[in-house]
C-alpha cells in the first residue's frame, strides 16, 4: 500500500505528470503574456504542448563526434531530478515526502538539471556548445550564492533560534504567523528570490547560456527530436518548480480548508509569480552579458539576501 502510494506521489501527483502538465501550462502563459505585452496576439496557451509532441515526432540525429550515452541520458536525468524536487515542496500545505533537511535536498537536486544541460552540451562535441556550457557554469555559480542566503534566512525565521530546514515546518510557521512575504525583514529576501528564479529557468535577460542568435542555441545545438523535447520539457518544469518554491517559501500560509482549493490557489499564485518575475522582465529587457550577470548577482541580489539574513539573525 505504501509502495503504491509512493508511486502515485512520484509519478502522478505531485511528481512527473502533475509537474509536466502544469509546467507546460506555465510556459504557455509566459509566452502569451510576453506576446500581449509586445502588442501582438501570441501563440495559444497549449503551444508548448504542441512543441513537445512535435519534437517527439522528429528523428533524433546523433552527431558523429558525440558520446551517445551521455547525449541521450542527460535530458532524462534532468527530468527525473525535477520530478523529484516537486515531492518536497508543500503544495497547499500537503507535502509528499517530508524530512528534517528538505531544503538541503532541494538545493542539491536543483543543480542537477543545470548539470544535465552542461553534460548534454559537452557530450555533443560542438564548439558552440562549449561556449554555452561555460556560460551556464558561470550562471549557476552566480545565482547559487543568493539562493543559499535566501534559504538560510527563511530557515532561521521559521525556526526561531535554530535553523528549520524542513519545508513542512516553514509551511506550518506561515500558517500560524502569516505569510513570510508580509514580514518586513523578509522583503529583501523575497526580492532576491524573485531575481534568482529567472536565472534558474533561463529566461531573458539571464539566458546567456542559451543565446539563440549568438551561439546557435548553445548547449542544445546538436539536439533534435525526442531528446530536445525532453530538454524543453525540463525548462517548462523548472519554471513550475521554481515558482512553486517561491510560493511555498513566501506565500505558503494560505489555508482554505479543502486540499483541492489549496492546490488551485497554489497554481494561481505560481501563475502570478511567473507573470511578474519571468514574463515582465522578458518583455522589457535585453540579454545581459555574462560579466554583468555575475556582477549583478554577487553584488545586488546577494546583498539583498544578506540584508535579510542579518536582520533575521538579529532577531527581527
Amino acid at each position: 500500500m505504501l509502495i503504491l502510494k509512493s508511486l502515485f506521489y512520484i509519478l502522478i501527483f505531485p511528481g512527473a505528470l502533475f509537474t509536466s502538465c502544469f509546467g507546460l501550462f506555465l510556459a504557455g502563459v509566459d509566452r502569451k503574456v510576453v506576446a500581449r505585452m509586445q502588442h501582438r496576439i501570441g501563440p495559444p496557451l497549449r503551444q508548448p504542448m504542441y512543441d513537445f509532441f512535435k519534437l517527439l515526432g522528429k528523428e533524433t540525429i546523433i552527431p558523429h563526434a558525440a558520446n551517445k550515452l551521455a547525449f541521450l541520458a542527460a535530458p532524462v536525468i534532468g527530468f527525473v531530478s525535477l520530478a523529484l524536487i516537486m515531492l518536497f515542496i508543500p503544495v497547499g500545505g500537503f507535502t509528499a515526502f517530508s524530512g528534517n533537511a528538505d531544503m538541503i535536498v532541494i538545493l542539491y537536486l536543483i543543480t542537477i538539471p543545470g548539470v544535465a544541460l552542461i553534460v548534454g552540451g559537452s557530450s555533443s562535441g560542438s564548439p558552440y556548445a562549449g561556449i554555452g556550457i561555460s556560460r551556464e557554469m558561470v550562471t549557476m555559480m552566480a545565482y547559487e550564492l543568493p539562493f543559499v542566503l535566501v534559504l538560510l534566512a527563511v530557515a532561521r525565521k521559521a525556526g526561531g533560534s535554530e535553523l528549520a530546514f524542513s519545508m513542512e515546518k516553514v509551511a506550518m510557521w506561515q500558517a500560524e504567523n502569516g505569510n513570510m512575504l508580509f514580514q518586513w525583514s523578509m522583503i529583501p529576501a523575497a526580492i532576491a528570490m524573485l531575481l534568482v528564479v529567472p536565472a534558474e529557468v533561463g529566461t531573458q535577460p539571464f539566458d546567456v547560456a542559451e543565446a539563440e542568435t549568438e551561439i546557435c542555441e548553445g548547449p542544445l545545438i546538436e539536439y533534435s527530436g525526442g531528446a530536445l523535447g525532453m530538454f524543453k520539457l525540463n525548462t517548462a518544469m523548472k519554471m513550475f518548480v521554481m515558482s512553486g518554491l517561491f510560493v511555498s517559501l513566501f506565500l505558503g500560509g494560505i489555508r482554505t480548508g479543502s486540499v483541492l482549493c489549496d492546490i488551485i490557489i497554489f497554481i494561481v499564485l505560481c501563475v502570478v509569480v511567473t507573470i511578474i518575475c519571468m514574463s515582465t522582465t522578458h518583455a522589457v529587457t535585453a540579454r545581459l552579458k555574462i560579466e554583468h550577470l555575475f556582477k549583478f548577482y554577487w553584488t545586488f541580489v546577494a546583498g539583498m539576501a544578506l540584508c535579510s539574513l542579518i536582520l533575521v539573525w538579529c532577531g527581527l
Binding site: 501582438r40 522589457v284 529587457t285
Partner: protein, 250 residues
C-alpha cells in the same frame, strides 16, 4: 537600472493587439503596388518590346501555326519576374497590366505562370512607304521596337529591313502623313523611257538571256518579263539612260 518600456508593456497587455487578421482581409496591396501581372492577349500586337526590355528574361513565346495566321502563346514567369513594370511602361497597347494582387504562392511551377494567347492574322505584304509623300520625319524609325527602319533626313532615304520587321504596325499608327502600309510589294523590273530611246538595239545585244526585242524600223521596244533575270546589263549598256530599275505595272 532603468526600464523605459515597463509602463508601455503593462499598458499593452490590457489593450487590443495591433495584429492584422489572417487571411488578410484586403487581399491586395495599397497605392500603386506592383503585384501579379495581368495579360490581355487580345490587345497584344506582338511588337516584341516587352521581351526586349525584360531584364530577367521572364517572358517566353510559343508560336503555333493555324489557319489564317498564327497563335502566339505568351507566358509570364512570375518566379522569374522582378516586378519592375518596365514591360507595362513599354507596352504600346496596354496589354500588360500589373494588378495589386500579392498572393503569389504555389506548390507547383504552373501555379506561378501567367499565360495569354494572341491570334495574329497573317500579313501578306511587306512594309512599304509612299516615298513621294514621305517627309522623312523619322517618327517611324524612332518608334520601331525592333529598330528595323532607317530614315535619313539629309539624304532623304527611307529603308526597312524586312528580316527584322515583325509587322506589328506601330509605325503605321505613328506616321503623321499616313504613308506607311503593308502593301503587296509592287513588282520591280526594267522600266523603259520612250522619249529618251533612240532604238540603237544595244540593250538587246547586251541582254544575256535575249529578253529584249527592239525594232528600229517600227520603233518598238519589247521585253519579256518572264525571261528577264533583272541583271541590269541593259541598263548599264544604254547610251541614253532610257532604261532603269523600278516598279512596273503588271
Amino acid at each position: 537600472m532603468m526600464f523605459p518600456f515597463l509602463k508601455k508593456a503593462i499598458t499593452n497587455a490590457f489593450t487590443k493587439p495591433s495584429t492584422e487578421a489572417f487571411p488578410c482581409p484586403e487581399g491586395e496591396g495599397l497605392g500603386n503596388y506592383r503585384g501579379r501581372i495581368a495579360f490581355d492577349g487580345e490587345k497584344c500586337i506582338d511588337c516584341g518590346m516587352c521581351i526586349k526590355v525584360c531584364s530577367p528574361a521572364a517572358i517566353e513565346l510559343e508560336r503555333e501555326e493555324v489557319e489564317g495566321g498564327e497563335n502566339i502563346w505568351r507566358t509570364f514567369d512570375l518566379t522569374s519576374c522582378t516586378f519592375c513594370a518596365t514591360c507595362v511602361d513599354f507596352c504600346e497597347e496596354g496589354a500588360i497590366q500589373m494588378t495589386k494582387d500579392y498572393h503569389m504562392v504555389g506548390t507547383k511551377h504552373e501555379d506561378l505562370l501567367v499565360k495569354g494567347v494572341t491570334f495574329k492574322k497573317k500579313i501578306i505584304g511587306d512594309l512599304t512607304c509612299d516615298i513621294d509623300n514621305c517627309i522623312y520625319c523619322g517618327l517611324c524609325a524612332r518608334n520601331c521596337p525592333q529598330n528595323a527602319i532607317t530614315v535619313d533626313r539629309t539624304t532623304k532615304t527611307w529603308q526597312v529591313d524586312h528580316e527584322k520587321c515583325v509587322k506589328c504596325g506601330i509605325c503605321i499608327g505613328k506616321c503623321p502623313k499616313k504613308v506607311l502600309s503593308f502593301a503587296e510589294p509592287k513588282p520591280e523590273g526594267v522600266v523603259f523611257d520612250a522619249e529618251k530611246c533612240v532604238y540603237c538595239t544595244l540593250c538587246a545585244k547586251k541582254c544575256p538571256v535575249g529578253a529584249i526585242e527592239v525594232d528600229r524600223a517600227s520603233k518598238t521596244w519589247k521585253i519579256d518579263r518572264e525571261t528577264c533575270i533583272k541583271c541590269g546589263a541593259c541598263i548599264k549598256g544604254c547610251p541614253k539612260q532610257a532604261l532603269s530599275m523600278g516598279p512596273i505595272e503588271e
